[in-house]
């Protein structure tokens, strides 16, 4: 038995002991979304109980399991029983769960679901994986997220971690690339280039020094798939990187990660240190003769650095401006050496393919888009969070079956971030793959899915994205630098009700120029949100221009706040919160709202619903 087999044996024994622990084990979801919802208070509270009472139990931090809207999560695993999960836990509820569920009569509290291996109901509690949001998912890259301690390499090893790497070393680089070819895996960063081809080009490129770069500069606003994966299972990414570097013949790798993700950076650093210690990084990894060093490079906040050549410029210490291609990075990338750049999700998928085989991965997905894809399902949908689904699933299944639908009637879904487009009811039964989305005028992108309902204004959404791209344009190409700015100005006119019908033609013409006259993906795709909304929501543009009306009551200059006299109870709460004294009126009598003084800050509208005394006596109308 070699050293790694010994380590594997120990890891499996430890994991088994944990599953059959004689004391209860308590797990808390401590991803960024969990922490933002109050998980650190929950953690502190259970630590206090453990230290200051008769109760004896173990505590473990885990990553995000997916349904962010139910955070914070707390799981309890009682001796001889399964692991049960509770949602929306706060400090008080955590205490109750420990005392009454973990150490008391468990029938008093009802968990959300159990995380046992089998999907059968246990003691009347359904499997977590059978909940509507989880049922339609296929978790491959996210398989460990929320289950293991992301700061403990032994957990990862116990769940067959690094067995893909061992297979890779047995196969040799060429066969690894062949296995990826069979799998059909395409780049998960958005463009969908076949991963094996990228690797092949770089492997065949001349040069002794080669680089692998992991692109973790998740810049699309509305997307957090990479953050969740790194926070929940950093080892999967790192194992994928070793396999990729081995296939390419690279001995130096970088992870270019956003500085806005401090927790992900911290977990990667911990994981790298543990892997070095276990002989899984550094010189002669697992006696294969292969050496690899992985370094972190923190991005400094520039969306354009998601573009390969701009990312390379940034690592070299320059302004992150794209360079013209060819030469492609595979031939001449970082410091002029052959370089492969892969996305976090692509690399995180690799260990699974090497562990289970390319054919296994190939069974999921559509004819040209294989496997699973993670999406950040957000916006006006009931169940928000991170999901992983087989490609070919329809938008309807994602939005209604997984997301539970919208509260107000569905209007559009935005895919692909600022480079993507808005799709409508008409596309809802479209099976999602790289080709179908681009045919509809959008793109797959990295996986942001922003759902919009009748309360979202499409002109405002287009303005939002153009504003973003105009600010993030690096300025190198004139059509992008100036064109996006002009487009924002026109869209602003519409949202202020001062646009005219000729502006529409100008807008469309600039959009086409920017698309054709830009060097990199940022400029080439920046007009997409405008072009798709013009195509599918033309009437809404007309309403803004001709009727000076915003039906969704979003565009501030086109709306008015009103008090409905019949509903107003005269509770004075809105009078108290109004910063400009626009609302007046004595207690118990309907209030007055002076539109001249109103700055449309929304405070009265919110407080009216917040306290539910009147409920909805203040309305926004266009």
């Amino acid at each position: 038995m070699n050293d790694f087999e010994q380590l594997q044996k120990t890891a499996k024994e430890q994991w088994e002991m944990l599953q059959h622990s004689s004391d209860p084990v308590v797990y808390v979801g401590m991803g960024t979304c969990g922490l933002a919802s109050g998980a650190s208070d929950v953690w502190k509270s259970i630590q206090k109980i453990r230290d200051n009472s008769k109760y004896k139990f173990q505590t473990i931090k885990v990553g995000c399991i997916g349904p962010c809207y139910l955070e914070p999560f707390l799981d309890v695993q009682k001796p001889g029983s399964s692991r049960f999960t509770f949602n929306n836990v706060d400090a008080d509820r955590a205490e109750k769960i420990i005392k009454e569920f973990a150490f008391g009569d468990e029938s008093k509290l009802k968990p959300l679901g159990h995380l046992g291996d089998k999907i059968e109901t246990i003691n009347g509690i359904k499997s977590f994986w059978e909940l509507p949001m989880l049922k339609h998912q296929k978790r491959i890259v996210l398989r460990n997220c929320g289950i293991i301690d992301p700061e403990n390499i032994m957990h990862y090893i116990a769940r067959d971690g690094f067995s893909g790497l061992i297979n890779a070393f047995e196969k040799g680089p060429e066969e690894v690339i062949e296995e990826i070819r069979i799998s059909g895996l395409r780049g998960r960063g958005g463009a969908g280039f076949p991963t094996y081809k990228k690797w092949q080009f770089c492997r065949e490129a001349k040069g002794k020094l080669k680089y692998l770069i992991c692109n973790a500069d998740e810049g699309d606003p509305g997307a957090f798939m990479n953050r969740s994966l790194i926070e929940g299972d950093p080892f999967a990414l790192l194992e994928g990187m070793i396999i990729a570097a081995y296939a390419l013949g690279a001995n130096q790798a970088y992870i270019y990660i956003r500085a806005e993700y401090p927790l992900a950076i911290e977990r990667l650093n911990i994981a790298i240190a543990q892997m070095k210690q276990a002989g899984l990084l550094g010189r002669n990894i697992l006696d294969s003769g292969f050496n690899l060093e992985i370094k972190l490079k923190e991005g400094a906040g520039a969306f354009v650095c998601g573009e390969e050549t701009a990312l390379i410029a940034s690592i070299e210490g320059e302004r992150g401006m794209p360079r013209s291609r060819p030469p492609y990075p595979a031939l001449s990338g970082l410091n002029g050496n052959p370089t492969t750049i892969n996305n976090v999700e692509t690399l995180g998928t690799i260990p699974n393919i090497l562990r289970n085989g390319g054919d296994w991965y190939n069974q999921y997905g559509t004819a040209n888009s294989k496997g699973t894809k993670t999406f950040a399902l957000v916006g006006k949908v009931r169940r928000t969070g991170l999901i992983e689904v087989p490609l070919g699933i329809t938008l309807r299944e994602i939005i209604y079956d997984i997301g539970g639908g919208t509260i107000k009637p569905f209007k559009a879904v935005q895919t692909g971030g600022p480079s993507g487009g808005c799709l409508t009811e008409e596309h809802i039964d479209l099976p999602i793959d790289y080709e179908s989305l681009s045919e509809a005028g959008s793109i797959m992108g990295s996986g942001g899915l922003i759902v919009m309902d009748e309360n979202s204004c499409m002109v405002d959404v287009a303005k939002y994205f153009l504003n973003f791209t105009s600010e993030e344009s690096c300025g190198k190409c004139t059509p992008c630098r100036i064109g996006t700015k002009r487009m924002v100005e026109i869209l602003e006119k519409f949202t202020k009700g001062i646009g005219n019908i000729d502006d529409l033609a100008t807008l469309e013409s600039i959009a086409k120029t920017v698309k054709n006259g830009s060097l990199c993906g940022l400029g080439q795709t920046a007009p997409n949100p405008v072009l798709t909304t013009l195509k599918y929501f033309y009437r809404e543009y007309l309403e803004h221009i001709e009727d000076k009306r915003c039906a969704s009551a979003v565009c501030r200059d086109l709306v008015e706040y009103r008090v409905i006299k019949e509903k107003c109870t005269g509770c004075q709460r809105c009078v108290e919160v109004c910063p400009t004294g626009a609302i007046t009126g004595p207690r118990s009598e309907p209030h007055n709202l002076d539109p001249e003084k109103c700055i449309k800050c929304r405070a009265c509208y919110e407080i009216c619903r917040f306290d539910a005394i009147a409920g909805d006596a203040i309305i926004i109308v266009s």
């Binding site: 960024t32 933002a36 400094a300 950040a376 928000t384 969070g385 919110e606």
Partner: protein, 150 residues
């Protein structure tokens, strides 16, 4: 040798051009912002001109050129936050503390920065005060949160 040059020598012994962004990040971490003095010292250390350093530093939104406040507010204007009313939160915030993004209040209590996405889209709209993320914001909730930071 100044204390800044001293720490640079310790953390970045290779002194290569590729270290520029990590050096700037290190300096901002230590001093809170990038002063013109710091740019001169970095220029001396890495042997890169001040104008090149300034050009690189201003390209990236992470770098600040004014001293920060006691508490740093990062307001998220990602897509999900926008769709959930993030714009209203920003204008309410500006009204409450009286400054525009990129500046610091006169009493030095807050500095305000807009960020593209904090990655907490499922619980939007969000903002980050120092290292705490506050989620599902409303104009009303915002006022309560700010009162916790003196």
């Amino acid at each position: 040798m100044s204390s800044l040059l001293n720490t640079l020598g310790k953390h970045f012994p290779e002194c290569s051009k590729g270290d520029l962004i990590p050096v700037l990040q290190h300096v901002q971490d230590q001093e809170g912002y990038i002063s013109s003095n710091a740019i001169r010292e970095i220029s001396e250390y890495l042997n890169i001109s001040c104008s090149t350093i300034y050009g690189v530093a201003t390209f990236y939104s992470q770098f600040k050129f004014n001293p920060p406040g006691r508490h740093s507010i990062k307001i998220c204007l990602g897509t999900a936050c926008h769709v959930q009313g993030g714009d209203f939160i920003l204008s309410a915030l500006q009204m409450e503390i009286g400054i525009a993004p990129g500046s610091t209040t006169e009493d030095g209590r807050f500095d305000l920065e807009r960020v593209a996405c904090l990655g907490c889209c499922a619980i939007a709209p969000v903002m980050m005060v120092d290292n705490d993320i506050h989620s599902r914001l409303s104009v009303i909730k915002l006022r309560q949160i700010l009162s916790n930071y003196e």
